[in-house]
């Protein structure tokens, strides 16, 4: 019981410190507000983005850009995958789809709830919702690859490509 609680704490701390390693996440002021590990060991993350006028995509109506919703989803999904791994491997987004259901029409924060729901040795599947003021703004599915050379790997050759 204690062990589970300790590892939950460690998970929570790791997730919340995520922003320190990802400059764009930190620059946008995104924060992790919830981390849950399911019975299958896979993780669900909730990440928040505070409202910022600089992120408006439709100036005539003041709606936050859909691009920033995608950024929030990609960040939350990536973290969900990272936290779900049994052994740490490099991860990279393979593809990401967004369906935009409603515009972000007020000044409330955006939240993305990203759930990693399947993980094989090389591939992780995530679904995510973007919510503002209890309204569903967008629904997403994404696929990540892990530990392969094709993604954003930390080798000199890749970095200087």
């Amino acid at each position: 019981m204690t062990q589970t609680a300790d590892s939950d704490d460690a998970l929570r701390r790791a997730a919340k410190s995520y922003r320190e390693y990802i400059p764009h996440v930190k620059a946008l002021g995104m924060t992790v507000s919830d981390v849950q590990r399911g019975e299958d060991g896979l993780v669900e993350i909730v990440m928040d983005l505070p409202y910022d006028e600089r992120l408006i995509g439709d100036p005539q109506h003041g709606f936050l850009s859909t691009g920033v919703m995608t950024t929030l989803v990609d960040s939350a999904a990536g973290l969900a995958v990272f936290c779900s791994q049994k052994q740490p491997q490099s991860i990279a987004t393979l593809d990401l789809r967004m369906d935009y259901l409603r515009p972000a029409r007020n000044r409330e924060k955006l939240s993305a709830r990203a759930t990693c729901y399947r993980m094989t040795g090389k591939i992780a599947f995530v679904r995510a919702d973007v919510i503002q003021d209890q309204q569903l703004l967008a629904r997403s599915v994404s696929v990540f690859m892990m530990g392969t050379r094709g993604g954003r790997r930390s080798t000199k050759a890749e970095a200087t490509q």
Binding site: Y21, I22, P23, H24, V25, K26, A27, E53, R54, L55, I56, G57, D58, P59, Q60, H61, L64, S65, T66, G67, V68, T70, T71, L72, V73, D74, S75, G78, A92, T93, L94, D95, L96, R97, M98, D99, Y100, P103, R105, G151, R152, R153, S154, E158, A159, T160, Q161
Partner: protein
Amino acid sequence: MSTESRIADLINAVRLAREAADLGPLLSLVPYAAYLGMQAEPTDDGLLFHLPFRDDLVGNASLPALHGGALAGFMEMAALLATTVAERQQRIPKPVDFSLDYLRSAGPRDTHARCKLVRHGRRVAMVQVSSWQQDESTPVAVARVHLLLEAVDTSSGDVDEISGGAPGLEARGEQ
């Protein structure tokens, strides 16, 4: 600022883009485009968009690599702006969906994008976006977005007003 003056600003910005090859006013009108630091110029092959590299656009700092979401935002905004100009829209088109494939690592350097627009009848456009760094033939990502355009009554040149606030948008089921 009134709705009319906002529309006028956009119409003016689109005109400058089309007639004076000046994308500056349009890019500065959309806060998110300005935040990303996007630039654009007309070429014989359509508008060419640029995302100059900046430290706060980085995702994985250990590589470093451009944040996937920043790249996605750049590509989607490129599609929106390219369509606004090409289709002479009086409001930024509404994204319906967005699908993105990451192909290669995007490193700490400038990224470029070009769009290809296909009209789907009067109201819908499908835009394919390709983004690259070193070489256009080796893109870092490709994307496809569906946009809802404003309805233009071509007989009178008037625009079907799709503005107003939340209630107006809720009422229109298609949106």
